[in-house]
Symmetry: C2
């Protein structure tokens, strides 16, 4: 079967070529029924309009959508804020959607942003593959998120971050190290877990990872952290998957009478400027957000002008040496 | 001169009545020139279309815009997150714009959200009066922001919060109390300052307020806080206009060798759930964000169905008693 063309979609959906073009470009008045029919035909035939041709055809809106799993976590707040400032400086306006890590909500927001004729999309959500990302021929850049092979991903070296944190804790004498992470399998945060698990295994230590998803109520997070201490009376270190978990763990540990770093070592992940200045005592792996957002904007612009880009851009991580692990310890 | 009608606007702008109606409802294809001409005519004639009639005419989008001065501050992150969840549960989708406290950027985003056919708008930005808010006949609710007399405002009792914090510091023996606030005159944060100033004056103490605006770089905020200590060698307390300022002040003070609360008392403002759990030692005035966002959604829905609402909704504040002021002090 030959590659389907615009006229095949029109015939299949029982509409004119102009109507298909309008649906593809979100232009002019269309009923929801027509939009649905055309999208169904596109998906049934596996039709892929040429991106460059579409971009030339399409009216530029200079509007960029950002889709995030939460906006109340400082990491995503700082990420969105940096992206917005950099894009605005280049003449774009930015609208932000919050998927709260719910796949159906993410699809809802994705369609919303697409129907608002965004020129491009930056996605930082962590859900399983969502078909909409494949159907839509829109320039997309993912931050810290695997969507599919066509969409470039910008991330920090999560695996190395996991290795570095875990090795550091073991070098300081910790044996019962608990890790926190999220449930989303597509999240590059899983690489932090893989780094942690490989180092634990290489040292013949049992690793244990607890799931604390973003955007669950804070009280629920505190309960989960308390449960970690209940179930692991010999716990001597926590490698938290993000700084919010780490900060809450510090509080829960202190409430339970544990002294940091004497009874318990803690290392976090993200190292936002806010956390480094509000909780400078927290040792944490720093993601270079400034570089990552610079590149995200560049890559998105490259995709918007139809250019090919690499599949993956991995940024080196560094460590912020606080006092939640041994202050006398020297990194090799 | 009689109240201008739709046909007057059409004649003035040199377009048809249908075109004016399209501009008012953001519907159908329109050139930017036509939109500008019609909006100019509306503004020159002082035309005010009937909101209820417009709402009946308008296609519902179930899309709500939120406009904020920053998204990297935990207060606005928590505010946006709560609003989004509550609105989504009621069947709305939410897009967020970040004005970074820049008036021209705010106008840009406002027009962007309006052109995306939002059904309503929740505004938390702090700029001077912006004409666009008067021209557009859109249901709007302001949180912590005075826009104009037609737009209901939802806020915490900022004046009482300022009084409470300042009285508490004076009762604990502080005499050289510095306050931080923002430069925007329309921000209800100014009422915190008024509360502070009235209590200082009543106690024959000299008040001094430093301006630390949202969304300036963190390094700049730290410099400004350091300057406070340089210029006020006898400083014995800080009433910070928000918790971010308070958290940074704690760090700067400690860097300078000051012990909290022995050498310096600190009270913040906002008391988000995040800060109360990450920095529970910070004494702060709590804005009841959960109640405020519940009400914001209710009032917006009332406005969207053309109902009259009150002009101002003030919520009582409470205090979070941490250890950055005297722990032995009892509130009357």
């Amino acid at each position: 079967m030959p590659t389907p063309k615009l006229e095949d979609v029109a015939r299949h959906a029982g509409v004119s070529k102009t109507t298909v073009s309008r649906v593809l470009n979100n232009r002019g008045y269309l009923s929801q029924k027509t939009i649905d029919n055309v999208n169904l035909a596109i998906s049934e035939l596996g039709y892929h309009p040429n991106i460059v041709a579409r971009q030339l055809l399409k009216t530029k809106t200079n509007l960029i959508g950002i889709l995030l799993p939460t906006i109340s976590d400082p990491f995503f707040g700082e990420l969105a804020s940096l992206l917005e400032k950099k894009l605005y400086k280049k003449g774009y306006k930015v609208i932000i959607g919050n998927s709260t890590n719910d796949a159906s909500k993410e699809i809802d927001y994705l369609n919303q942003l697409l129907s608002k004729q965004v020129d491009g999309l930056i996605v930082g959500t962590h859900n399983q593959n969502i078909a909409e990302y494949r159907q839509q021929n829109l320039p997309i850049v993912a931050i810290d998120r695997i969507i599919n092979d066509d969409i470039p991903i910008i991330e920090s070296d999560n695996y190395k971050g996991g290795v570095l944190a875990t090795e550091r804790l073991i070098d300081q004498g910790a044996k019962n190290i608990v890790h926190t992470n999220v449930s989303q399998k597509e999240s590059p945060m899983q690489k932090r877990r893989l780094g942690y698990e490989s180092v634990m295994e290489a040292n013949n230590l049992d690793g244990k990872t607890y799931i604390i998803d973003f955007d669950i109520p804070i009280t629920k997070k505190l309960d989960l952290l308390d449960q970690i201490f209940e179930e692991n009376p010999n716990i001597d270190a926590i490698f938290a998957g993000n700084d919010t978990d780490a900060a809450f763990a510090m509080q829960v540990a202190q409430t339970r009478g544990l002294s940091i770093p004497n009874d318990l070592l803690i290392i976090g992940y993200d190292g936002t400027e806010l956390i480094r200045n509000v909780l400078p005592q927290l040792t944490t792996i720093i993601q270079p957000l400034d570089n990552m957002t610079d590149l995200a904007v560049d890559i998105l612009e490259a995709r918007m002008s139809g250019k090919q880009t690499k599949k993956e851009y991995i940024h080196p991580i560094t460590i912020w040496e606080g006092t939640t692990d041994k202050p006398d310890y020297n990194l090799n």
